[in-house]
Every structure is written in C-alpha cells, then in structure tokens.
Amino acid sequence: MNADKVLDAKGLACPMPIVKTRKEMKTMNTGEILEVQATDKGALKDFQAWAKSSGHELLGTNESDDVLTFHIQKG
C-alpha cells in the first residue's frame, strides 16, 4: 500500500503512538494515507478505536516481527 507519509513510532509506549499519530495527521490532507509503525502491543486495539472515533479510516493492519503497521486514511 502506498502511503503519503510514514511515522515511525517503534519503541514508544502508551500513549505516545496515538499522540504522535494525531499530530502527524493534523499536517495531512483529507484522503491522504499515513503509515504508522508501532511496537506497543496495545496499539492494535488503540488504533482501531482511535480511527473510528476520530473519523479516519483504518485501511489495514499488518503484523510482522513484533512490528505493527497501520495504514490510516485521513477522514
């Protein structure tokens, strides 16, 4: 999947992945896709919930080698 921006949130603990993602999202335009990489295990549920509540769309989630990769489209 092609992302317009990539955010490396690996190694960051709760609540930083979401805080940084929101910050990054603010700089983007509607329809653009942000890729976020995180290692916080709570991120899986966190990103699903956050995207839903903030009006963005979580296009997909990937997990490999303990790294979670999210693709979120700005709504």
Binding site: G11, L12, A13, C14, P15, M16, I18, V19, T21, R22, W50, S53, S54, G55
Partner: protein
C-alpha cells in the same frame, strides 16, 4: 466529526503512579481531540509545583507543609511499594527500559497538547501553596469551574 467531546479528570492524589495514570489518560484523550482538563486538588496540586525552591510569603505552618510535600512530580512517592523512596527509583528504571514517559515529560506533553491544568485555589490555601510555586501554565479555579466543564463532559474521573 460531531461536536468536541470533553474529558475531565480530578487529580486528588499526590502519588506518582496515580498521577501518571491521570496524565496518560489526559494525553490520550487530547489525541482523541477531546478538550481535556485536569483539576488538581489537595495532594494532586504537587504535580504542578516547580521543582526549584521558590521564595513566597508564608507563615510557619505553610512553610512546613511546603517542605514536607513533594516539590514537583519527580519527588512524588508511589501509592504502593514506596519503600521509603526506593520504590520510585526502581519503577523509573523499569519505565526507562520500557520507554514509558516519566511523569514530568507527560506533564510537558499535556502542556504541548493544550490540556487545561487547573489548580484548586481553596486547597492551595489550605496547603499553603503560592501561585509563584506553580507551573506558569497553571490556571486557577474552584468547584464551579469544574462542574461547568463536567456537566457536559463525556469522560469524567476522580483519581
């Protein structure tokens, strides 16, 4: 998106771990685009204290209170397993290993995210805390200000 939601937290506790929980929730709520307010009262006020000693006009009892209470977030103790101050040192070591943010960083993050940090003036008087001792970002209010925020708030908690 619907109208802006609100999160209001009363931080009564002056324990490091409890204050951490409050500030993590607050920062998370700000990332949810909530308007977030933390009302600091009683021992929770110490989270807003600057860590350096500040000269303020105080009576003997107020001076004593100021000495006994933790000056700033990093001097707070744990609600459990404090072990006379060894507990906080241990937990901060573990936090570093897991990349968890120390309380003082969480407070700075809260300021960056425009979270309202409110100090209860009545309890400041009781504990003899002066505005000069508090973080510059602190706002000052009473119970009515909290209720005004809380009555139409989505998330409300007391820690």
């Amino acid at each position: 998106m619907s109208e802006q939601k609100k999160t209001n937290i009363i931080l009564f506790s002056g324990d490091y771990d409890k204050a951490m929980a409050a500030y993590i929730i607050a920062n998370g709520a700000a990332a949810y685009d909530h308007e977030v307010t933390i009302f600091h009262t009683f021992w929770g006020l110490n989270a807003l204290r600057k860590d350096e000693p500040i000269q303020a006009k105080k009576n003997l009892l107020e001076k004593a209170f100021g000495k006994i209470m933790p000056r700033g977030p990093e001097k707070m103790g744990l609600s459990n397993m404090n072990f006379m101050g060894i507990g906080p040192k241990l937990i901060k070591k573990v936090m570093k290993k897991h990349n968890a943010m120390p309380l003082s960083d969480l407070i700075e993050m809260a300021e960056e995210q425009d979270i309202n940090l409110v100090a209860c003036t009545m309890t400041m008087d009781l504990l003899g805390l002066d505005k000069a001792e508090m973080r510059e970002t602190s706002e000052y209010a009473g119970v009515a200000a909290y209720l005004a925020e809380a009555e139409d708030g989505g998330v409300n908690m007391f820690i």
